[in-house]
Symmetry: C2
Subunit: 433 residues, 2 copies
């Protein structure tokens, strides 16, 4: 008889094989669905999105009761109030999911777009056609509404999706997935256009992110640790959304009243969003004029200030340590640094920032131009608050995240970020000489 250690090993390896086989099957089905979806018209895809919305409307009762089970379990497990809040699927959030589906249905379908077809001297016409990426794996935490957002954006952009939500939302996600499935069937599209990983086994994530044959891109949505774990383990390309250490730089040629409004809004619009300002930079030439009133207004909002030496000569503030310059507080805390001028501001941002979203407040055209060219961030703003960094604000309709990658897509990722372009070459019997 095998020892218990041996038995456990065998059981583990069987479990892994099952999980691997399950994920492989999902991948194969997704690949086949993607081949059909690639050719689906906008009308067919929109019909599915609208059918999903109708299903959500009809299934409100079931959605709420499935969610109640997740919430009950979360409370038993002692999850934090913030996590329980994210998990919640009340009528307002169900409304938002329905509106989200309608918004995506109303967006222009990017697939098949050929923005120009140039004619070469030999008469060959050459252009690029926008096409789906193929199969997209989405790995996310707690918020069950991501299930519908991700499904909608992937479907509309012609991609098959494999979704892997957090185990804490399993009942909610199952109920939402059933609405998605029913919507697809109603519209005559394959069910495998949107699939869920049917196990909470961690092995499944490992298999998904290394299944290059059947998965074309992985998009993790969640905290830094999730994203780093996935990036480190994936062989499939990952569209990452890392943190936002965002700056506002007050140039010596800024309208200082405007600069205060922008800085206040960038910090206080919402503390927890990735576009919130974490460090305020101020040109030394205007620091004495600018900072005292700025500090007073931030103080009214209860924002804790941490400053460099020069800052602390002008206002009351704690000491900003070296680590403050690379901290994403996501809280009513702000670090402030007085800089020598534009170049110092640019150097600070490119060195300590996270290449997410950074703004200059200035009326000086030359300085604005330099800042826009030199700041190496996915969004560079002029005289606007960093909290505008958001797909809806940018007119993308909806977003699946904000990419901090350099390749493929930077900044808010909408439908276009979920597509790629292939060359089309049209001749009339052309041969090469």
């Amino acid at each position: 008889m095998a020892s218990s250690a041996e038995t456990r090993t065998i059981a583990d390896s069987e479990r892994c094989e099952d999980v691997a086989a399950h994920v492989t099957r999902l991948g194969q089905q997704a690949r086949r669905a993607a081949a059909i979806l690639r050719e689906a018209t906008a009308e067919e895809k929109n019909a599915a999105l609208r059918a999903m919305a109708a299903q959500l409307e009809q299934q409100r009762e079931q959605l709420r009761s499935a969610n109640a089970r997740d919430l009950e379990h979360a409370r038993q497990e002692g999850l934090s109030a913030a996590l329980v809040d994210r998990l919640q699927l009340d009528d307002r959030r169900i409304d938002a999911m329905i509106t989200g589906l309608e918004t995506v249905a109303a967006l222009q379908d990017p697939v098949g777009e050929i923005d120009s077809l140039r004619t070469r001297p030999n008469g060959l016409q050459i252009g690029q056609m926008r096409v789906p990426l193929g199969v997209i794996g989405i790995i996310y935490e707690s918020r069950p509404n991501v299930t519908i957002d991700a499904a909608a954006l992937c479907l509309k952009s012609g991609n098959a999706a494999i979704l892997r939500g957090g185990s804490e939302a399993v009942h909610s996600n199952t109920a939402i997935a059933e609405c998605i499935r029913a919507g697809l069937v109603q519209a005559g599209l394959p069910e495998a256009c949107v699939q869920r990983v049917g196990t909470s086994d961690r092995e499944a994530v490992g298999a998904l992110i290394r299944m290059d044959e059947h998965v074309d891109v992985i998009i993790p949505r969640g905290g830094r640790s999730l994203i780093e774990r996935i990036s480190a383990g994936a062989t499939v390309p990952v569209i990452k959304h890392l943190e936002g250490i965002c700056h506002v730089h007050v140039d010596r040629h800024a309208d200082l009243d405007q600069a205060r409004e922008i800085a206040l809004n960038a910090k206080c619009y919402r503390y927890g969003i990735c576009g919130a300002m974490e460090t305020l930079l101020v040109d030394e030439a205007v620091a004495a004029d600018f900072l005292p009133e700025m500090a007073r207004r931030l103080g009214e909002q209860g924002v804790e200030l941490r400053g460099c030496d020069r800052t602390r000569q002008l206002i009351e503030a704690g000491i900003a340590e070296e680590s403050d310059w690379s901290s994403e507080y996501l809280a009513p805390i702000l670090s402030i640094r007085v800089v020598d001028g534009l170049q110092s501001a640019i150097d600070h941002i490119n060195h300590y920032g996270s290449h997410h979203t950074d703004a200059i407040v200035s009326q000086h055209q030359g300085n604005i131009r330099r800042f826009m060219a030199a700041v190496d961030s996915s969004s560079v703003m002029v005289n606007a608050a960093t909290c505008f960094a958001d797909g809806a604000e940018y007119g993308l309709g909806a977003e699946i995240g904000i990419s901090t990658n350099r390749l493929h897509v930077r900044g808010p990722v909408g439908l276009e970020g979920l597509t790629t372009r292939k060359y089309i070459v049209i001749g009339d019997g052309h041969v090469r000489h």
Copy 2:
């Protein structure tokens, strides 16, 4: 006293540390150079390219004698004639390098381009600005001219380059690199804009492809084994150029004379290029009309034919095994398959092909439209030979390879493929409500 095994271990680890330190230093220098290059004007970059061309012209003697040393060594090592040929740097190839630099200097600079700036309802102007990727690592084999091509394209697109050529071309590459360095200095740009890895130690490649902090993308140029080795080991994103298993499909609505000219050219223009046709698909409705004359013409060129059963009922051909459908021959060999119709052709291409370049010959608008939408390749052609798959033929001026990736860039990679786009957001005191 340490045993000899211990001594070796220590020496090895010291060597590795040296290599790692060397590569890290290159990365840090490249990152600093990239920050300067990001803001360089087209004029400054073009001046450097032209100065490099002038250096090559002046240094012909030195280039040829450095190359003679590599060739001598290659012959001593018994390298194949094909490899020795690739290594050769004669006057014709030096001319081609000089012309290449001038061609790249004449190309439009993509950096800073903002193709549209839309105004949101709240007055915010939002657009995307084309910017360099940052630092590009190029890993290549034998052909020393890649040193200049890669340097030119990276520089013009505003990227710092770290080049790692094959050890067989070390003297040639050193001589070319000296011309590059001198050109950069003459134009007042940092020498570190283009650097060479200064060791042939394999550890250096390993360090380069995992240096996410200082390298933004890796482009391997070489055979399949090089590319697979690098893709497997890299944590930095890789722009891959895998093989071309290219198809021509002769539709039932093709002009059969045109189809024969295209197929002949696609196969025989040059056997060794990635855009060469490897499999010919023929609709059963026209196979009997099409194939005998096609076989005769291919036979005249000495092309060996391997066919499916239905093909072999119509013409003399060897048996195409299952493995033939996924073979990149790069030789005067062609596999031929008679298919039931358009859908079978599409299925065959998407299943057995390498998503590189595939063509349909047809006069039927509906079939052409379906083929273009359904074939999942980086280039899809209509009534043109697959051997047109090439950056220069597409009007890109020059290419650094043909990407078989899905993300970021597919097909020939020119200057645009070496850039990315960041959002620019321009307001006038905009705050979010």
